[in-house]
């Protein structure tokens, strides 16, 4: 059924959805307007929040790149990847190597960070293309198993080639401080938030447009029925590789941003657990929706923080507290993932849109 949708000519008339009044603006303009609004909100928030919250928000932005990429791949194109942690590691390590190379060449100005970010994304695109070409021939559990192996390999790689990656210790990432023009007392965390938010919003605008484009429709057609998609003239394998590469690029950007925020990279941060976290965030947020990816990214940062405050409420022995603190978020993540998959496969965003639809049906306000 989606295949027929995918073949419909992308005319301007099709952009006006009769079921959704007020949405007649061109897609690009609408997405840019939303992005500008969010940017303004982030700018205001960065002055209202303290340094720690700024840093947390920046971390949410970094995760959001990766979860948005994964939701396009898994939710829209139907390919499951357990290797996105490894792709984030690719981005992070490339950024670290690029920043170190630039610093060695005496190029320490803040603007060079953009070059490093682009290099990191390009490197991840190459890795993503290699995995994606293999992935396009695989289905369901086979693909999950292959990407799982990719995720397990990362720590081994950094130890084997420790001349480049410096083994378990990892690499330091030299990052230029905020530009002097912003004043000498400008908090570093606010600057980090600005950098992360700018990169993430550009990434999201590109993804949102892609989702609404011919490619997005092809992704959904391939997900729903490969045979029908092929009959409709869609090159299934090529579509899947494109989806994987786009998703990998987003994950690479997310990893690179994490490296910029932490100012260091080490293999411990990019283990199998990170890949599972990303998948969990995407599923709980709502598969296939960029808004769901945002919920997931917020959850990834907020839940460890919440459980930390929760364990502080009880007086525990230091050993027990340490065990609980590291593992309780994981247990909650795991249990939530299972419950969401069984009870509410649409995730948070699915529940929200069901709620708004129910409210609209009861009070038909704003319908013209």
């Amino acid at each position: 059924m989606s295949a027929t949708r995918a073949t419909a000519p992308p005319s301007r008339a099709a952009a006006v959805d009769p079921a959704r009044p007020g949405r007649s603006l061109p897609t690009l303009v609408r997405h840019l307007a939303v992005a500008a609004g969010v940017a303004l909100l982030v700018l205001l928030a960065s002055y209202q929040l303290d340094s720690f919250r700024n840093f947390q928000l920046a971390t949410v932005a970094a995760y959001l790149c990766a979860t948005a990429g994964l939701t396009v791949l898994t939710g829209l194109c139907g390919q499951l990847s357990l290797g996105h942690g490894a792709l984030m590691a690719t981005g992070a390590y490339t950024l670290a190597l690029a920043q170190n190379a630039l610093a060695d060449g005496g190029r320490t100005a803040g603007g060079w960070l953009v070059v490093s970010l682009v290099v990191a994304v390009l490197a991840t695109v190459v890795v993503g293309a290699v995995v994606g070409v293999a992935a396009a021939r695989l289905r369901g559990p086979y693909l999950a198993g292959l990407t799982l192996a990719v995720a397990v390999v990362v720590p081994a790689l950094t130890v084997t080639f420790d001349g480049v990656f410096n083994g378990e210790q990892g690499l330091a990432v030299p990052v230029a401080p905020a530009p002097a023009g912003l004043g000498s007392y400008f908090p570093h965390e606010r600057w980090q938030l600005w950098v992360a938010a700018a990169a993430t919003l550009s990434c999201l605008v590109l993804l949102a447009n892609l989702v609404r484009s011919r490619y997005g429709r092809a992704f959904r057609a391939v997900r729903d029925d490969e045979v029908a998609a092929r009959l409709a003239g869609i090159h299934v394998a090529r579509t899947q590789v494109v989806a994987f590469v786009v998703s990998a690029a987003s994950a690479g950007l997310g990893g690179a941003l994490l490296a910029v925020l932490a100012q260091s990279v080490s293999p411990g941060a990019f283990g199998l657990t990170l890949s599972l976290f990303l998948l969990m965030a995407v599923v709980i947020g709502g598969l296939g929706r960029l808004a769901g990816a945002a919920w997931g990214a917020v959850l990834l940062v907020a839940l460890p923080d919440l459980t930390h405050s929760l364990t502080n409420l009880f007086t525990l022995s230091p050993a027990a507290a340490q065990r609980l603190e590291g593992n309780l978020p994981l247990a909650i993540f795991g249990a939530t993932l299972i419950v969401v998959m069984i009870a509410a496969p649409g995730g948070v965003q699915g529940l929200l849109s069901r709620l708004t639809r129910a409210l609209r049906a009861r009070w038909p306000v704003g319908r013209s």
Partner: protein, 292 residues
């Protein structure tokens, strides 16, 4: 040459465990078309049960029996309480739920036992016996071979010679017809999960003492290796899983012996990639009509 012989025998012993674990994956795949990504975590949980029982009673064998029992129970519980409720229309759903189980089980183990490596006992010595000046197998390797052999033979016997095995095969092959003929299809599926999880627990008991020790993540790499073994043999074929397991064990033994233990995950990935790209159906796949 001595080294080659030693690595070959060591690889076969390692491969026997991978074969058992791959067999567990194949059992569930045949019963319900699910690759149980939680198999490793479930097996580690059973091994922790063995650790507790052995610590309490001082007997390795009581712990061993407890692990098998815990494995059987855990498999049945996972099927009845979780997998039965999952919408199986999309093949992604069971995989995602299994990954949720991985997170949950590993976190609970970490909370109860801590995230440190605990020492794992062996019932027999792991020092290799020498025959004519050449180090060959250790008594523990012989124990591994014997156990895996007995379990493999028992599974073959159950599936080919008993009424319950016939019912299990029927329930997997044609669920609707079997139900009409009075087979308790759901019960057979649960039994399949229990058996597979029990075999997985056995594999964990055998493999964990040969590694760094007991840890919530102790089976992660073993799972990937066993998955590779199962794919190598074709997910549908129990003999394929055994051959695949022995092959993967040999390969990893040679890689770690001649090139270094750090390269094992890379070797697994390379092998898996090669198999999936060249023969995605596995070495023993029958020629199937391509569904367009």
């Amino acid at each position: 040459m001595d080294r080659f012989l030693f690595l070959t025998l060591d690889g076969l012993s390692r491969g026997a465990v991978y074969a058992a674990f791959a067999l567990a994956l194949v059992l569930i795949w045949r019963a319900g078309r699910i690759v149980n990504f939680a198999q490793g975590a479930m097996a580690v949980a059973a091994a922790y049960v063995a650790y507790s029982v052995t610590a309490a009673t001082g007997s390795y064998w009581l712990g061993f029996a407890a692990a098998l029992l815990a494995g059987l129970l855990l498999g049945a519980i996972v099927d009845v309480a979780v997998m039965r409720l999952v919408d199986h229309r999309s093949p992604l759903n069971p995989v995602i739920v299994a990954l949720g189980l991985v997170l949950l089980i590993q976190a609970v183990l970490g909370m109860v036992y801590g995230n440190e490596y605990l020492p794992a006992q062996t019932p027999f010595s792991r020092t290799a016996l020498t025959v004519g000046g050449t180090a060959v197998l250790s008594p523990y390797d012989l124990f591994v071979f014997a156990t895996v052999g007995v379990v493999g033979a028992a599974l073959v016997w159950v599936f080919t010679r008993t009424a319950i095995g016939l019912r299990m095969r029927a329930a997997a092959f044609a669920p609707e017809v079997s139900r009409l003929l009075g087979v308790n299809v759901g019960g057979m599926l649960t039994l399949g999960w229990a058996l597979a999880s029990g075999v997985g627990a056995l594999a964990a008991m055998l493999v964990i003492p040969t590694g760094l020790g007991l840890h919530p993540h102790a089976m992660d790499l073993v799972f990937v290796s066993a998955f590779t073994a199962a794919v190598l043999g074709g997910l549908d074929s129990p003999p394929g899983a055994v051959v695949g397991g022995l092959g993967v064990g040999l390969l990893l033994s040679y890689v770690s012996g001649y090139a270094g233990g750090d390269l094992i995950p890379l070797a697994v990935l390379a092998l898996l990639l090669t198999v999936l790209l060249l023969r995605p159906g596995g070495l023993f796949a029958p020629v199937t009509a391509r569904r367009v």
